[in-house]
């Protein structure tokens, strides 16, 4: 029997199962294999809130969605072509994401009476007529795996743990993929246990062969390599990229990296990542709390290192007072907020963009500081590198805003070479001789930046602190005129950074037109996709994704003036929109989704069309 191989431009798959089912690993392997094959990929892991929620429950479902394509893909996909469900709960939670006529692959053993009950099903949905619209592939994965491993002397637990390899093998067959990258991975992972290597590879191949030999499956798909720009790629997650960006900035500035942090979801992975790089002179310090974390970073920065602290919303709230100190001290410091659903503890494992105003204003007094964000997982590298550059070159704390979506999502990254990265210039005050003029710690250059004066340097002894300081000398001053001058100069210093950052470019569309969609952060991919599609449909719409939120690029106001309507999609209740309205007095409209999950392309397209309609009517 010949099997048809169908060409596909892009495919979205969601893997779902219990958190013990190895879903994240399965998804990551499929992603890596596809990326290595040359597809463009974009992923969205969706963890349960519990470490290990009770097996088989709705709350315990772990999901991993990915889109891969022979064209550029900017999101992990809105609706899925394929749903892989290891049990009834995973099926129930994810069915709404599946497109009509999509493919369902289920492990039938996960639909036994107990599992059905846990998922709240009266009867098995697999026997339901409602599934007629879909193509359903039912496999007793558990049994197949057991069969494959019979006589290998493994316990039931170990056998069951390799079930995911069967599914993966089967999908590799369906999408005509090579098994070798995953086989290599298995060999490395179980390097200390040859039996497990053998077992996992066996099951992986069993899954592949099952697809190949079974008569049921007549179609296979092929998603060609994408025409990505030339170069060498790797797959990378946002938090990983941020960690690498910090190490790169350390290298390019010649400063050791200090990372003071307190664990919190979803920022902790940066700490885990960096703690592996001790041979890069990277010092990670797990402090007793977020306040100690930022204060230790302030101490390290005072000592002359590239100091970084990171957290998520609630932890950032705790850092507000110390951020104010860093602003007064005018020392370099990068503060990373990997945002999650709020307020308060909120939804720790879900994504959101609701801490922008906190970054702008979350401290006492007039305390402006630069804010920069990234557009996608791999872009975290560039953005955090840029945050470090600004911090060091402009002697200021800088916020870098990431979020759970890009932190855990992944995509191919055409990584740079060390040589191609810009260097970061560090201006430290020089040793003073006896007859040199007295050192003035708060004397500024033309960019209004003071010098970094490191302990250990002769003649630079000086004292700084959080009380208002006197112009030039940095001594305590309660003088009214001095205070106003200092408040203004601190603001001007931040504003002046606009001179050295790129102008805002349009990410899509023409320089003038009907609708401008302004986004920031991880909405980049979905806005990009939606705007492209609308342009194809002939709608007059452009897209500007803002990386530099404070200060804004110099030309942003001008750019906005070219459009009749401005809409600002955000995963919050409207924050950037407030700043834009205040600054440019235009009636920008917020498009808001506060569900802990990213926008779908459709949602943005609908918003664009509504805006276009309003423009047309006017």
């Amino acid at each position: 029997m010949t099997k048809v191989v169908e060409e596909k431009r892009e495919v979205t798959i969601v893997f779902a199962g219990d958190s013990g089912d190895g879903i994240q690993l399965t998804g990551t392997q499929f992603t890596n294999t596809s990326a290595l094959f040359g597809n463009d990929v974009s992923t969205f892991p969706n963890y349960p809130a519990e470490i290990r929620a009770p097996q088989g429950t709705l709350a315990g479902v772990s999901g991993f969605q990915l889109q891969f394509g022979s064209v550029e893909v900017f999101t992990p996909g809105d609706i899925c072509d394929v749903l892989v469900a290891m049990n009834a709960a995973a099926f129930k939670v994810n069915l709404p994401r599946l497109k009509k006529s999509g493919t369902i692959i289920v492990n039938t053993e996960g639909f036994n009476p107990k599992s059905l009950k846990l998922a709240g099903y009266e009867a098995s949905p697999l026997e339901d007529k409602s599934l007629e619209d879909y193509r359903t592939i039912q496999i007793d994965v558990t049994k197949m795996t057991q069969t494959a491993l019979v006589d290998m002397g493994l316990g039931k637990k170990e056998v069951d743990r390799s079930r995911n390899m069967f599914v993966l093998g089967f999908l590799y067959y369906m999408y005509s993929r090579d098994l070798s990258p995953t086989e290599q991975f298995i060999r490395e992972k179980f390097t200390k246990n040859p039996l497990l290597i053998e077992a996992n590879i066996k099951v992986l191949r069993a899954g592949y062969n099952f697809g190949d030999t079974s008569e049921t499956f007549t179609s296979r798909y092929n998603v060609k390599a994408a025409q990505l720009p030339k170069g060498t790629y790797r797959n990378i997650m946002g938090n990983q990229a941020a960690a690498l960006g910090l190490v790169a900035a350390s290298k390019k500035s010649g400063l050791n990296l200090f990372y003071g942090s307190y664990p919190i979801t979803p920022a902790s992975d940066i700490l885990h990542e960096l703690s592996k790089y001790k041979n890069f002179e990277v010092k990670t310090f797990q402090a007793e709390d977020e306040i100690a974390a930022i204060c230790s970073a302030i101490g390290s920065s005072f000592g002359g290192e590239l100091a970084v602290t990171a957290s998520s919303g609630p932890g950032i709230a705790l850092k507000g007072e110390a951020i104010g100190l860093a602003i007064m001290l005018e020392i370099p410091l990068v503060i990373i907020n990997v945002q999650r659903g709020g307020p308060s503890t909120g939804m720790p494992t879900k994504t959101e963009q609701a801490d922008l105003m906190q970054a702008m204003y979350g401290r006492n007094g007039e305390a402006p500081m630069p804010i920069i964000s990234a557009n996608s997982p791999s872009d975290c590298f560039d953005a955090v590198f840029e945050a470090c550059r600004i911090a060091i070159e402009h002697m200021t704390p800088v916020f870098f805003l990431s979020d759970g979506y890009m932190a855990n999502g992944s995509e191919p990254w055409k990584f740079p070479s060390t040589a191609s990265l810009p260097s970061i210039s560090v201006k430290q005050a020089k040793e003073r001789k006896e007859d040199d003029a007295t050192f003035l710690p708060y004397k500024r250059d033309e960019r209004l930046v003071r010098e970094w004066a490191l302990p250990g340097t002769k003649g630079l002894e000086h004292r700084i602190g959080g009380i208002e300081k006197e112009w030039d000398t940095g001594n305590i001053s309660y003088d009214p005129e001095n205070h106003q001058r200092m408040v203004k100069v601190r603001a001007a210093k931040v504003a002046k950074i606009a001179d050295s950052i790129p102008l805002q470019e349009l990410n899509n569309g023409t320089a003038t037109g009907d609708v401008l969609v302004i986004g920031w952060g991880s909405t980049y991919g979905v806005i990009k996709t939606a705007v492209s599609q609308c342009i194809t449909e002939g709608i007059s719409v452009s897209h500007a994704q803002i990386r530099y939120i404070e200060p804004f690029p110099r030309n942003l106001g001008e750019l906005i003036k070219g459009f009749k309507a401005v809409i600002i999609p955000e995963m919050n209740n409207g924050q950037l929109v407030k700043i834009i309205r205040d600054r440019y007095l235009i009636d920008a409209k917020g498009i808001n989704k506060i569900k802990g999950i990213p926008f779908s392309t459709d949602e943005i397209i609908t918003a664009i069309k509504e805006a276009e309609e309003t423009v047309k009517k006017a």
Partner: protein
């Protein structure tokens, strides 16, 4: 101290800044400032290698008056700032200046964590049993029943015993001194500085404006001999007029005995041994209200000193080991990772 030493001899005056000292006239802080300035030249550390870090409080103005590097940080966080600095620059001589409110109220957590990590730094805790800067509220060391601005009917907080708390946090050096006994203060400051690890020195400091005379009983000529017990290494615990009293250990419990009525001699007494953690613990419990009948005298000097690894040194070792094992980090190979593909 790993810090390089110097050939030209500094004097106390070299550590004075051009900033006018702005404590209230008569404040105990003046004496402490002076003793610190006077012992520093003998440590042999260069001015530019010394950093004073403080929180907020009257005492925390201290760095402005020291002609070294300094930071007047935020309330309660000086130890955390100093920890980061020590990790960045282990070779610097770092001093933390803090008050009883700064270190034990808002900053209590950073204090105990710094202590357990045992960074090589000196913490001078200016204890005046009051909030000076905010004009007179009770602090975590104020005695029960203390009438202050915020407790017109008397404080309801059972106070901390700072040295007992720090020992509970596994301090490697705890000591006590007072502003008025300047020679003793200089000695103990020097020992604190010599200790490699976190040295916690509590200094009884008179706030003559909001809590005048809190420690008079230990500083006043008349009562001092009876109430203050000076600890000397290898020496018996003796105090009182004409050294007429001593302390013995009675199956693990301390007891005051007389030496002048023939019942005990100096040979029977508890010999001070700052390496004995059990004894150090007992000494911290010499903390009764001095107005109580049969109370023990208050000890001054070094209670306990022991050696334990320093966080910053252990980190340095790990960094070196990592380079030994993996080679000096190569950014390009880090950036490329293990799985790459090429689009031609």
């Amino acid at each position: 101290m790993a810090t390089e030493t110097i050939d030209i001899q500094l004097t106390a005056k070299d550590f004075v800044t051009d900033q006018e000292v702005r404590w209230c006239p008569g404040c105990g802080d003046y004496s402490i400032l002076k003793q610190v300035q006077s012992i520093l030249p003998d440590t042999g550390v260069k001015k530019e290698d010394i950093v004073f870090i403080s929180g907020i409080g009257c005492s925390s103005r201290f760095p402005y008056y020291m002609n070294t590097f300094g930071m007047h940080s935020i309330h309660g966080r000086a130890t955390a700032v100093a920890s980061g600095l020590k990790i960045a620059r282990p070779e610097l001589s770092v001093w933390v200046i803090t008050g009883d409110g700064d270190s034990l109220s808002i900053g209590g957590n950073h204090l105990i964590h710094t202590i357990r990590r045992n960074f090589n730094m000196n913490i001078l805790l200016f204890n005046n049993e009051i909030y000076g800067l905010t004009k007179g509220q009770y602090s975590p060391t104020s005695p029960e029943g203390k009438v202050t601005k915020s407790t017109p009917m008397g404080s309801l907080d059972h106070p901390f015993n700072p040295l007992a708390l720090c020992l509970g946090a596994d301090a490697t050096f705890i000591a006590r001194a007072m502003d008025r006994d300047v020679k003793h203060l200089r000695d103990v400051l020097t020992r604190a500085n010599d200790h490699v690890g976190t040295s916690l020195l509590e200094i009884y400091q008179n706030c003559n404006v909001f809590n005048d005379g809190a420690f008079e009983i230990y500083t006043d000529k008349g009562s001092k001999v009876e109430e203050a017990l000076f600890l000397e290494e290898g020496q018996p615990l003796i105090f009182g007029a004409d050294n007429n009293k001593g302390i013995i250990l009675n199956s693990g419990h301390p007891k005051v005995v007389r030496l002048d009525d023939g019942s005990y001699t100096a040979d029977d007494l508890w010999i001070h041994d700052s390496s004995d953690r059990y004894k150090a613990h007992l000494l911290t419990t010499f903390f009764d209200n001095p107005s109580l009948e049969g109370h023990l005298p208050r000890p001054f000097g070094v209670f306990y000193a022991t050696d334990r690894f320093r966080y910053e040194e252990a980190l340095k070792d790990q960094l070196d080991l990592a380079v030994d094992k993996k080679g000096k980090g190569d950014l390009d190979s880090l950036l490329s990772g293990k799985n790459t593909w090429t689009v031609a």
